[in-house]
């Protein structure tokens, strides 16, 4: 392992580590544009110049591999001057239109311009004008702002493998563009907006909608597929404005799919259920009356794999208290599993917590979906049904909708108005994924925390609270506690969560060991 000295401090790095990476890992910041940890280095922005002991001139640290006993110096008057000069060149054609640029506030060029005091240009000639145009359905480019770092071009070649973007023209006329008639519309296209260090590539859905310094950013996990990409949600005045990727080497590296980024419109939808029909007492007393009249197994349940670990745990308890058979599991499989050349995966199951449903009720039960519940209703064994759903637009099977007519009692805890909620006698509005705290277990059995980003609609109540209140009414529980305390219960009950709590899950989650006890078999 080569030993290098960074600003006099000795650190050990893996052989072949680039100097810039070594510096960043050692906590020494070196300004850079074209370097991105998820992409191959290009060495074209020249911002990361440092002094190395092997060379008399300054070297671009993003292209300089560490050798043993290398000494790297990242600060000094000559390095400072070199960076200021690089910045002056970059700002020759870059407009200082920060007030009207959507990247303002999170722009690397803006930050370094402040750091290196380059607010005034000595350049008197007119600036180059490069076009502002659409590159695809979601992305617009402001050519004037492009500094040709080629991060986006490398992303399309290496990670999405689609290669829509290229650099056209030469010299200071060079700009990123698409080939004629081939817009950038791959399923990962919006990542290029994330990695653009300036305001050249802009997400059309976010354009003009918020100034980032007014907005709140919340670290959470995307719920759009069972991969569970780590995400950062920008919200303003209780409304979600955008979702961007948050790096997690164990799950999504640095990336996120476009579908996940746009999967928040339903949170503020007009079709959100926001007033209660009936109460949880009515739900429990009606369910109990049915059990009394028809015997055990006459009340069934349906639970979606959009629910958190805590909610599924409490739902399982509710089913047990009502002597119900194993619930039907509502999943949302769509399309095939997509694997991209860069290793990024989009899972086929578009729900975030399938793994925990498998843990609770078994793979066969999850595969089975609602089929058994439908047969039981048709066969007259199930007379009452409690549905707990969090999937935005769930694929309700036609047979299930038809079978509902035969029920004597239907209670629904859901987020959006649907044919199922229309037919229910008790409707309790629930909370969307962005309105609650909890834990999801992803496809690789990694437990990750989700956070409340925006407040739920007025009439909605957290599912953990509704379920606990129902359990208290049934005499199966002492008190209503927070989701965090419920997770503590899960940690005692399920061996793979042993010793875990919200604090230990942290920002990046924890990979779970295999469960030691057997999965409760479906009766």
């Amino acid at each position: 392992m080569p030993k290098v000295k960074i600003n006099g401090k000795e650190v050990e790095v893996a052989p072949g580590t680039l100097a810039l990476k070594a510096c960043l890992e050692a906590g020494v910041f070196v300004p850079h544009y074209c370097y991105h940890p998820g992409l191959t280095p290009a060495g074209n922005c020249r911002m990361c110049l440092v002094k190395v002991s092997n060379s008399r001139k300054l070297e671009a640290s993003c292209m300089y591999p560490c050798t043993d006993h290398l000494e790297i110096t990242t600060e000094g008057p000559d390095i400072d001057k070199a960076r200021r000069d690089v910045l002056e060149f970059l700002l020759i054609n870059h407009p200082l239109d920060c007030p009207i640029c959507d990247k303002s506030g999170e722009c690397a060029l803006q930050d370094y311009t402040y750091t290196y005091r380059r607010g005034v240009s000595r350049f008197v000639e007119p600036k180059n004008i490069r076009p502002t145009k659409d590159l695809g359905p979601n992305i617009k480019i402001w050519g004037n702002r492009c500094i040709v770092c080629t991060r986006c071009v490398r992303f399309c070649e290496e990670i999405s493998g689609t290669g829509e973007l290229c650099v056209v023209n030469r010299g200071d006329h060079a700009v990123v563009d698409v080939f004629p008639g081939v817009p950038i519309d791959n399923p990962l296209s919006l990542n290029v907006v994330d990695i653009c260090p300036v305001g050249a590539l802009i997400d059309k859905n976010f354009l003009y909608s918020a100034r980032v310094w007014f907005a709140q950013e919340t670290k959470t996990v995307c719920a759009t597929c069972s991969r569970g990409c780590n995400a950062l949600v920008t919200s303003l005045d209780g409304r979600i404005k955008r979702i961007v990727a948050r790096p997690n080497a164990a799950v999504n590296q640095y990336w996120m799919c476009d579908e996940g980024r746009r999967n928040f419109e339903y949170v503020a939808s007009k079709r959100r259920l926001d007033s209660r029909r009936g109460t949880f007492e009515e739900m429990t007393s009606a369910a109990r009356a049915i059990v009394k009249r028809y015997g055990s197994g006459s009340v069934g349940g349906v639970v979606s794999t959009y629910q958190t670990v805590e909610e599924m745990h409490l739902f399982a308890k509710l089913m047990k208290a009502l002597e119900a058979p194993a619930p039907g599991i509502l999943t949302a499989e769509r399309g095939a599993r997509q694997v991209f050349p860069g290793g990024f995966v989009i899972e086929a199951d578009k729900t975030p917590n399938r793994a925990f449903a498998v843990r609770l009720w078994g793979e066969a039960s999850v595969q089975d979906g609602l089929a058994r519940v439908v047969t039981d209703i048709d066969g007259g064994r199930i007379k009452g049904l409690i549905v707990l759903n969090g999937i935005p637009h769930p694929p309700w099977p036609q047979a299930f909708l038809a079978a509902m007519e035969k029920l004597e009692f239907l209670a629904v805890i859901d987020i959006l108005q649907s044919p199922v909620s229309d037919r229910a006698s008790v409707v309790l509005p629930g909370t969307a994924w962005a309105e609650k705290d909890g834990v999801f277990v992803n496809v690789d059995r990694r437990a990750q925390r989700i956070h409340c980003v925006v407040p739920p609609p007025a009439g909605a109540r957290l599912e953990v609270d509704t379920l606990q209140m129902a359990l208290v009414a049934l005499g199966a529980r002492q008190a209503v506690v927070s989701a965090e305390t419920v997770f503590g219960e899960c940690a005692r009950e399920y061996s793979e969560f042993a010793g875990l709590d919200y604090a230990k899950l942290g920002e990046h989650g924890v990979g779970l060991p295999e469960a030691t006890e057997s999965v409760s078999a479906a009766p």
Binding site: P99, I100, T132, L207, Y208, S209, R211, W213, F214
Partner: protein, 144 residues
């Protein structure tokens, strides 16, 4: 010494002195105006009611950069941006509300504006009959 103390306790010299100051005012220039019969002319640079300026083509100058909203210490400005119909700029405000009840007339918005689009006029008699009327919208600000 004793006499001086006695004089002071009489208060008469002080009263005479005070009256002298008051009497002098009868014959000097008036500092007050007979408001509202007489309008007061504010000094130069007086910070009163806001307005949004227009350019020589009659279009609003504002480009919805939110700098005034960012600078505002009273948080009384609320802007929603939208795409611009004109080719020379990217965006314009769709709504621009100033809550005159929250405003502290500090002039930071005017100072922060990179386009010289917002201005505090010398109008000081800002009258309204309801709270809603005190929230100036884009139309009202442009018509000042």
């Amino acid at each position: 010494m004793k006499m001086g103390k006695f004089k002071m306790r009489l208060y008469l010299p002080a009263v005479a002195k005070g009256l002298w100051v008051t009497m002098r005012r009868f014959f000097s220039r008036k500092e007050t105006v007979e408001y509202p019969d007489q309008a007061k002319v504010p000094r130069k640079g007086y910070r009163g009611e806001h307005r949004l300026k227009k350019d020589e083509q009659g279009r609003m100058k504002c480009v919805a950069c939110f700098m005034c909203q960012t600078a505002c210490p009273a948080e009384c400005i609320e802007i929603v941006a939208g795409p611009s119909p004109w080719p020379d700029r990217d965006k314009i405000p769709v709504t621009f509300n100033i809550d005159m009840l929250k405003c502290i007339y500090c002039g930071m918005c005017e100072e922060a504006c990179p386009c010289d689009a917002i201005e505090l006029t010398p109008t000081y008699n800002i009258v309204a009959t309801s709270r809603a009327d005190k929230i100036y919208d884009l139309h009202k600000l442009l018509s000042r």
